[in-house]
């Protein structure tokens, strides 16, 4: 039932150098499918917001860069003619208008009549769950309500592409979690092409069809949340997305030789110095005697849904392991470790 609407977006060799000389973006080429939710993920200063603003039309790419909506070049089209919907980190709701007028502003600009506008506003108010707030002033709303109003306002005029710039960052953690699910439901229901910018990897994973991990103005990796998580392209992605143990060791015919024993990896022919990434939750604790790799428990932090162990002696650096919260384990204990070879990701060597 999700009728896809919106446009396919193509970003073609878009670079951005600001007037003060900072290189915000290296030339980037990227296709966003119609109806897709694409998330730009990266630390602050990685260029993700600049990318969003180029798609929006708030920034011009350097000469040679082009932005295409459904194949037509919109690089020189100002934002007000691009038919985009945008949610800002600060929401930027109009303090001089009430909730209904904020939501209806885009429709008013487009000359939609009063009656039709009312119907559409009612529709959006229901969709975003802000019924009863229509006549409120903006300063009478909570953070979560403002976020919903901003979203309703952005999608009211059925934009070609919805752009969200860290829309949940200004909220507290519990609310952020709840709104993340709601936002996901809403984006699916709208079926609109969506570009989302965040520095929060959990948010990116939960919402994205594809994630673009960015670093220093360039793309570090593009892929589905699972791709990014399980097969990161490099060390940066591995460490930025989720927790990761990066094990540096020598491989001989598919076996890593480690201080605490041995570990098999999937590629049985691999020989040489490697960096292997092992996620904390993919390590299983077994009896020390029967295991090919063992170590000593240094710290235990119980976080409720799981407990995280810091194990020394197994690898050169301390190994992080997530185990069941019911597992009975003591500091100082020697434990055996087992990892499915298929889940160990060998990262390419790169100059650091």
């Amino acid at each position: 039932m999700t009728a896809l609407h919106g446009v396919a977006v193509r970003v073609e060799s878009c670079a951005k150098t600001f007037t003060d000389g900072t290189h915000a973006l290296e030339p980037i080429t990227l296709d966003i499918a119609r109806g897709e939710t694409l998330v730009f993920l990266g630390p602050s200063g990685c260029g993700k917001t600049t990318m969003l603003r180029i798609i929006a039309g708030l920034e011009r790419p350097d000469a040679g860069g082009r932005v295409l909506f459904n194949g037509s070049d919109v690089t020189k089209v100002p934002i007000e003619q691009r038919n985009v919907g945008m949610v800002f980190q600060s929401y930027a709701l109009f303090p001089n208008m009430n909730v209904a007028d904020n939501v209806g502003y885009g429709l008013k600009i487009r000359g939609v009549g009063h009656t039709e506008r009312k119907v559409r506003i009612a529709e959006l108010v229901a969709l975003t769950g802000i019924e009863g707030l229509e006549q409120r002033r903006i300063d009478q709303l909570s953070g979560g309500q403002r976020q919903r109003v901003a979203l309703a306002r952005a999608v009211a005029a059925r934009p070609s592409v919805l752009l969200l710039d860290e829309p949940l960052t200004a909220l507290d953690a519990a609310l952020r979690d709840r709104l993340r699910f709601e936002l996901d439901r809403l984006l699916r229901a709208l079926g609109i092409t969506t570009v989302y910018v965040t520095h929060d990897q959990a948010e990116a994973m939960a919402l994205a069809d594809r994630v673009v991990v960015m670093r220093k103005g360039a793309i570090a990796q593009i892929g589905t949340p699972r791709d990014i998580y399980f097969t990161p392209a490099n060390r940066f992605v591995a460490e930025f997305v989720g927790a990761a143990n990066l094990v540096e060791a020598r491989a001989t015919n598919g076996t890593l030789t480690l201080p605490g024993g041995q570990l098999h990896i999937a590629d049985a022919a691999l020989t040489g110095e490697v960096i292997a990434m092992i996620r904390p939750e993919s390590i299983t604790v077994v009896a020390a005697e029967s295991a090919s790799l063992s170590g000593r428990v240094e710290r235990i932090s119980f976080v409720g849904d799981r407990q995280r162990l810091a194990v020394s002696g197994a690898t050169q650096k301390t190994l992080m392991i997530d185990t069941l919260n019911t597992l009975d384990i003591k500091i100082g204990e020697n434990i055996g470790l087992k990892v499915d070879p298929a889940i160990i990701r060998v990262l390419p060597r790169e100059p650091q």
Binding site: T19, A56, L58, P78, I79, E80, Q81, N83, V84, G85, M86, F88, S90, A92, L93, F94, P95, N96, Y105, G106, I109, R110, R137, I138, D139, R153, A154, A157, L163
Partner: protein, 265 residues
């Protein structure tokens, strides 16, 4: 002990304010309705001086208000968009322009007037009309309008509001009208209050620029002080007060309610 010190210093301050601000104002207004000031209040009250002032200077007073309102109109039309552009554009050029606009504050009004006379004094129709004075007043009051509007712009993140309106499809003029101006209203009101007050009270620049046919309130005041009897000059002061105080109070109330609306964020 400490409380007594505070009490007496406050008392002393109050006495000073009364002695140098309120007493002279009241005395000069009283002089305006005294039959003969040198014989004192005993000589009786009269409105003849006030009536005389009104007959002599009604057109001057009216002109002053026209000049003030024209000055306000120009500073609104020029100052508000200028403040918007300077704020949104930012950068070194904007800073430089802001400095240049602010310059007249540091230059004596006489010097500004002289410069205007040197530059445009030869356009005799212009020089002879009240518009010449308006031009001087605009130069002098524009920084107050621009500053006060820019102050409010930097307090409401006008750049993001502008961007969000543009993302909803509003063209520059539309967003200026729908979003920028309504949200900058408290600053615009505060600026307007200052412009009107300054224009009505401006003397030294106006004194240089005026012709016998384009006198304003303060210039007329100086004129009456110099050439009329003391009672007439005092009556003039009285008229000046009566004219300007209700206006100030009204604009203050207006700016206050506007300010409160702006503060509710």
């Amino acid at each position: 002990m400490r409380a007594r010190v505070i009490f007496f210093s406050q008392f002393a301050f109050t006495v000073l304010v009364a002695a140098f601000l309120i007493v002279p104002a009241v005395l000069s207004m009283a002089a305006g309705v005294t039959t003969n000031y040198f014989r004192g209040i005993r000589s009786g009250f009269t409105l003849q001086w006030v009536i005389q002032v009104w007959e002599l200077y009604a057109d001057t007073i009216a002109r002053s208000f026209v000049v003030a309102l024209l000055t306000l109109a120009v500073t609104l039309v020029v100052g508000v968009p200028a403040a918007y552009a300077l704020h949104v554009r930012g950068g070194r050029l904007s800073r430089a322009i802001e400095e240049i606009i602010t310059l007249p504050l540091a230059i004596p009004g006489l010097a500004i007037a002289l410069a205007l006379l040197l530059s445009y004094g030869t356009f005799s129709d212009f020089r002879r009309s009240s518009l010449f004075i308006v031009a001087g007043h605009v130069v002098f009051t524009l920084p107050f309008m621009v500053r006060s509007v820019m102050a409010i712009f930097s307090s409401i993140d006008v750049k993001t509001l502008d961007e969000s309106a543009s993302s909803l499809g509003a063209a520059p003029w539309r967003r200026f009208r729908d979003v920028i101006v309504p949200n900058a209203l408290p600053g615009i009101l505060a600026g307007s209050l200052m412009v009107v007050t300054l224009s009505l009270g401006e003397f030294n620049l106006t004194w240089m620029l005026h012709t016998p046919l384009t006198k304003t309130l303060p210039v007329g005041l100086a004129d009456s002080y110099a050439s009329m009897r003391l009672e007439v000059a005092s009556a003039y002061t009285l008229v000046f007060f009566v004219m300007i105080i209700p206006l100030l109070v009204a604009m203050q109330i207006f700016a206050d309610s506007g300010g409160r609306k702006g503060a509710r964020k």
